[in-house]
């Protein structure tokens, strides 16, 4: 299959119209040299039929083993209403591109405007863009924005921020544009004193993740007050689905809110595609990276939508641009709009509460049976850290559940050497906690 529609005659006609024997006649270099190299090195197989491709696909798919998992770490398995898949599969949406021609793209533009509106309301921030790549690069963009707003370069970052995000931020800082000042969090949450001793006149922003990587709820109000007293910006990293239960970033005076939007209607999908959410205050909107959809009038004074404030972007500003982002994750943003719209006010509160309750139920089951204890005895949302008596005990419990087709928790040693007997456990509405209860009861 090659999806080239022409019959041989038509291709011959193209060739003879152009007066060439072979398309290589149109290439200006000696293509034969290249072609030869190509052939002598090619490992590409013969093309396949659709049926053969389906077989190849199922061979690979079957090498992925399905298992129920209690794993989060930034990606969460949530229920997605069927209509989300159905609508986002409409090819008028998914086979279009960036809406450069608004008259042909009012559908997508309105959807992105509605997405911006939903994110703005959910986060209590005034402005949201229409998506970034993922949570990690959204953090990079937020830090960069803070730098561009304040012209200061010190960023204070607690070590309980998602380590996947920190890794990306460190990579992007290869030329030391920022001075990254890390704050240890041995108690699980950020201590205001630790921020107070570090914050200075050179601080552009303080980053705060809520719930943090350990699932714990931060004292966002007092940290925010402190940051504001010192005249720095607050960058909040949030878990969108938790906002059905927890305070929104804008309600504790966040300046730039970023998050991974996967929990709003995207599959875990092996970590991609994801959805980078970024929202800010209106006064900073001209420093916001990425596409923005705005409302305006047409020549008959009817309302319509366009990409706006484009002079911020790389295609106009070129080397003066604050970000190089071009393509974003529009279809993922559409899915999250569909998800939020389907779930609605009550639905989002409900799913957040279910997550909270089930995670607490699981934590109690484990701690009551003294299999492990909670490492941090602090309020959490749907994720918590279990501390076992030893690494061996942790593995024994985890392997026991693996045999029952349950993958339980993420060993934290992957991120923190000293947390070698600790397990980060996430619970969502997709987990069969009743079955887990039985399995725990039987564990010896």
């Amino acid at each position: 299959m090659d999806f080239i529609p022409d019959i041989k005659d038509d291709i011959e006609q193209l060739r003879s119209f152009l007066n060439i024997q072979d398309v290589n006649d149109l290439l200006k270099i000696d293509p034969l040299i290249y072609l030869k190299k190509f052939e002598s090195h090619s490992i590409l197989p013969e093309g396949l039929s659709e049926k053969e491709v389906m077989n190849e696909a199922s061979l690979l798919q079957n090498k992925n083993r399905s298992i129920e998992y209690y794993i989060g770490g930034g990606i969460y398995h949530h229920y997605i209403p069927a209509m989300v898949d159905e609508i986002s599969s409409r090819s008028e949406f998914y086979t279009s591109y960036t809406p450069y021609q608004p008259e042909l793209s009012q559908g997508y533009l309105q959807a992105m405007f509605e997405y911006q509106s939903v994110i703005s309301r959910l986060t209590s921030m005034e402005v949201s863009n229409s998506s970034l790549y993922d949570g990690a690069t959204a953090l990079v963009e937020a830090v960069n924005m803070a730098f561009n707003i304040t012209r200061k370069n010190e960023i204070i970052i607690p070590s309980n921020i998602n380590p996947h995000y920190l890794n990306v931020l460190k990579t992007y800082n290869i030329s030391n544009r920022f001075q990254l000042n890390f704050v240890p969090t041995p108690e699980g949450i950020v201590s205001a004193d630790d921020i107070r001793t570090r914050i200075s006149d050179n601080t552009a922003a303080v980053v705060l993740q809520n719930p943090n990587f350990f699932g714990l709820v931060e004292d966002v109000n007092s940290i925010s007050r402190l940051v504001k007293e010192k005249g720095a910006l607050l960058i909040a990293v949030f878990y969108p689905l938790s906002l059905g239960l927890l305070k929104s970033p804008g309600d504790y005076d966040t300046d730039i809110a970023i998050g991974e939007g996967q929990s709003l209607g995207l599959y875990p999908s092996f970590g991609g595609p994801l959805l980078g959410i970024i929202a800010t205050k209106k006064k900073y909107m001209r420093k916001l990276p990425g596409r923005l959809v705005g409302m305006t009038n047409d020549s008959d004074d009817n309302k319509g939508f366009v990409l706006t404030l484009q002079a911020r972007e790389q295609h106009i500003r070129r080397k003066m641009a604050f970000s190089n982002i071009c393509s974003n994750q529009a279809l993922c943003a559409l899915r999250s709009l569909l998800y939020c719209s389907a779930m609605g006010e009550e639905g989002l509160r409900n799913v957040a509460l279910i997550n909270y309750s089930r995670a607490h139920k699981v934590a109690r089951l484990i701690t009551d049976k003294k299999i492990a204890k909670l490492k941090f005895n602090l309020p959490f949302f749907n994720e918590f850290v279990l501390e076992f008596s030893s690494e061996k005990e942790m593995s024994r419990f985890r392997n026991y559940l693996k045999k029952q087709n349950v993958l339980f928790g993420l060993p934290l040693i992957k991120y923190y050497k000293e947390y070698n007997k600790d397990l980060l456990v996430s619970t969502t509405e997709m987990n069969d906690t009743d079955r887990l209860k039985d399995l725990i009861v039987q564990f010896k």
Partner: protein, 130 residues
């Protein structure tokens, strides 16, 4: 036909400056605004900041372009045109009066000598345009 005012001095980057003693008032020329088209936003520095000859002190945006604003001379900003935030179209309508950008205290009056006279500027834009 674009207007070049006689009472002003000009920079090759299309800014004008009106000299009033030690004070300079700076804006962009009628030619510049006509090239940019509808201005939608101006980014200006704060009062009391310093600007330096031939360096950018801000930027000006239309829908499809953005240009840097280049300082014709060194100086310290004593006032910025606050009306532009809400009404950037003033630059299109009245670039030499209500569309002014910043008022500065000129640091070194010698720098003025290097600027273009109205006649020279007019030659420059008519030469560059045709």
């Amino acid at each position: 036909m674009v207007e070049v005012q006689d009472s002003l001095l000009y920079a090759p980057s299309h800014e004008w400056i009106r000299i009033e003693g030690d004070i300079g008032i700076i804006g962009i020329t009628d030619f510049a605004q006509s090239q940019l088209g509808d201005i939608v936003y101006i980014e200006l520095p704060e009062t009391d900041e310093n600007i330096f000859m031939n360096s950018a002190f801000g930027s000006i945006e239309s829908v499809k372009t953005v240009s840097e604003l280049i300082a014709p001379v060194n100086g310290n900003i004593i006032e910025t045109n606050e009306e532009l935030a809400a009404s950037p179209e003033l630059i299109n309508k009245d670039p030499y009066n209500n569309g002014w950008l910043i008022k500065i205290k000129i640091e070194d009056k010698k720098q003025i000598e290097g600027l273009l006279s109205p006649g020279d500027y007019e030659d420059m834009i008519s030469g560059g345009n045709e």
